[in-house]
């Protein structure tokens, strides 16, 4: 089983990101579970979303306390609240930032990848300048780094999973896939 925890702010599409990733994984035959930290999904508030992926029925129903990988949609949260709690040693931390992975500092033995998801989202007019919606961009990077499925499968899930601006979201996903730094 792969367990991923996403950290963002309400309005960035963190919860939808988990759902789209789950849809993509379902398309390749995996069992999935995607859910928010219930009840705190308010605009601007720190939010968490969780996704589990397995080859068989997933029975565990709690939050994810020891994720294999971490996705940070809102880099401003780093240092203000504990984001990496429980992250397994050697796990990926995938961050939405223009910085290089080497510039990111986390205590512990983790692998780091960076995606300029905000930049990409703004370029494709996803959300507003003050509140860009970075979810579809970050997913392009997540797929590239974690090699969970191919880009076409993700693009299909993005198309089905976004409420508006299908083409712009798909373009953001593809661009992020190409511009993610870190990689295996």
């Amino acid at each position: 089983m792969v367990e991923i925890r996403l950290h963002g702010r309400g309005g960035q599409g963190t919860v939808v990101a988990a759902k789209i990733l789950a849809d993509a994984m379902s398309k390749i035959g995996k069992y999935v579970q995607a859910f928010p930290e219930y009840g705190v999904e308010r605009r601007g508030a720190p939010v968490k979303a969780f996704i589990r992926i397995d080859d068989d029925i997933i029975y565990i129903k709690s939050q994810i306390y020891e994720p294999d990988n971490l996705v940070i949609l809102e880099p401003a949260l780093i240092g203000t609240i504990d984001l990496i709690y429980g992250l397994k040693e050697g796990g990926w931390i995938i961050v939405n930032t223009n910085k290089d992975p080497a510039e990111m500092k986390f205590d512990g033995n983790y692998r780091i990848a960076t995606i300029p998801a905000t930049k990409i989202a703004l370029k494709h007019h996803l959300g507003s300048k003050a509140a860009p919606i970075v979810n579809t961009a970050i997913l392009g990077g997540v797929i590239k780094i974690l090699e969970l499925c191919d880009l076409d499968t993700l693009v299909e899930a993005v198309r089905e999973g976004v409420p508006i601006k299908e083409d712009a979201n798909v373009a953001a996903t593809k661009e992020a896939f190409e511009s993610t730094k870190g990689g295996r």
């Binding site: 789950a22 859910f35 219930y38 029925i57 129903k61």
Partner: protein
């Protein structure tokens, strides 16, 4: 075909595939998506049903009871305060022998105002005569709606399909969608022998004195007792058609178990991972998940506990002044048995506090250190 859907939509699809004909519901968090999707389905013709907008849950249930008495299949869904507001009509649905099927999202009761999960809302309705099915995942939610109609219409009693707020209601999971033709084969149209018909008027539920009411209660008890084997038969028949079998209870790794963890719904589902961990450590512990709570599967519980050294019941609910409610029921079922283990009752996760694998391992390890039951409640995780 597989879909990734939230538990609320699993209820909606269950009602759709069962070809519900009348839906009356009032929105309440965390149930809203159930009826949003059903109203869409009614609007776009996907579901040929009458959607009745009502001003309260009391009216929703009243509409369902009335419609059901005309011989149509009815559905509603609610949660917590909404279920409490229905209370009077819940008794009516049973007494009138209307096989209404309802989804209830387990949400803790206010005040304080809350939206998170706990089972006390539905368990407060245990003596109404409604059948109650506690589900562990979204697949089971969908499948149980279909089965609920089949059992309910056979025994002429209503059934409540129950799922945890957010933990299932708003969690997207992989669900195998049953094919409509197969559901139709499994669940034929509802036929009612005696129905309300304006062209052929009859009195219905009129004043009944002490010389008749008593027997009607006896008949209801016999009907719900009949439902015990029906849930097994229907769950097996469902398995033959769809590849997923269900029963009154589900067990996991009990073959050589010396201890049994007993729970329901998503807590029981999570407990599997704790059982796996404890088994790896050489502990002989198994799991009993109680799926159907009303009618209570007392015979199953008694026989499963007869060869066990210790039983631990984990409740996400409380009967104030007594204890956890599944605990009471398990203990009561075993009381007259010769061979019965000490039964420990644990209360945890009230008001939606997360219950993880580690919590269940902690509970097991704590109970293993106890020689005997000192109190009817072991509190797990309460900060006092």
């Amino acid at each position: 075909m597989r879909k990734v859907i939230i538990g609320n939509h699993a209820l909606s699809y269950g009602a759709m595939l069962s070809r519900a004909q009348v839906i009356a519901a009032y929105p309440i968090t965390p149930q809203t998506e159930v009826i949003e999707l059903l109203s869409e389905m009614c609007a776009n013709g996907e579901l040929d049903a009458k959607f009745i907008k009502v001003e309260s849950e009391h009216s929703a249930m009243t509409a369902c009871v009335g419609a059901s008495a005309t011989g149509v299949r009815t559905f509603t869904a609610t949660s917590a305060q909404g279920l409490a507001l229905m209370h009077e009509v819940l008794h009516w649905a049973v007494g009138a022998r209307t096989p209404v099927v309802m989804g209830n999202i387990n949400r803790a009761m206010a005040p304080p105002w809350t939206i998170w999960t706990e089972q006390t809302d539905s368990l407060s309705q245990r003596d109404t005569g409604w059948m109650q099915i506690y589900c562990q995942n979204n697949q089971e939610v969908l499948d149980s709606v279909i089965q609920a109609y089949k059992v309910a219409e056979q025994v002429k009693l209503p059934a409540m399909v129950i799922l945890a707020a957010f933990v299932l209601s708003h969690t997207s999971e992989t669900v195998e969608m049953p094919e409509q033709e197969k559901v139709d084969e499994f669940l034929p149209p509802y036929e009612l022998e005696y129905k309300i018909d304006p062209d052929d008027p009859h009195a219905f539920g009129g004043l009944t004195g002490p010389d008749g009411y008593f027997e009607l209660r006896y008949i209801i008890q016999k009907a719900i007792e009949d439902a015990i084997p029906k849930w097994e038969e229907v769950g097996e028949e469902f398995g033959k058609l769809f590849g997923r079998s269900y029963g009154l209870v589900e067990t996991y790794k009990i073959e050589d178990a010396k201890e049994l963890i007993i729970s329901s719904a998503t807590v029981a589902s999570t407990a599997r991972s704790a059982i796996d961990y404890l088994r790896e450590k050489g502990k002989k512990v198994g799991l009993l998940r109680i799926r159907v709570f009303r009618p209570f599967p007392a015979e199953k519980v008694k026989s499963l506990l007869s060869a066990i050294d210790k039983a631990i019941v984990i409740d996400r609910n409380i009967s104030f002044g007594a204890s956890g409610i599944f605990y009471q029921e398990v203990k009561a079922a075993c009381y007259n048995e010769k061979n019965k283990p000490p039964i420990f009752g644990v209360i945890t996760g009230l008001g939606g506090r997360d219950v993880g694998k580690k919590d269940i391992i902690d509970i097991y390890e704590y109970v293993m250190k106890q020689d005997k039951v000192e109190s009817d409640i072991i509190w797990k995780g309460v900060r006092v």
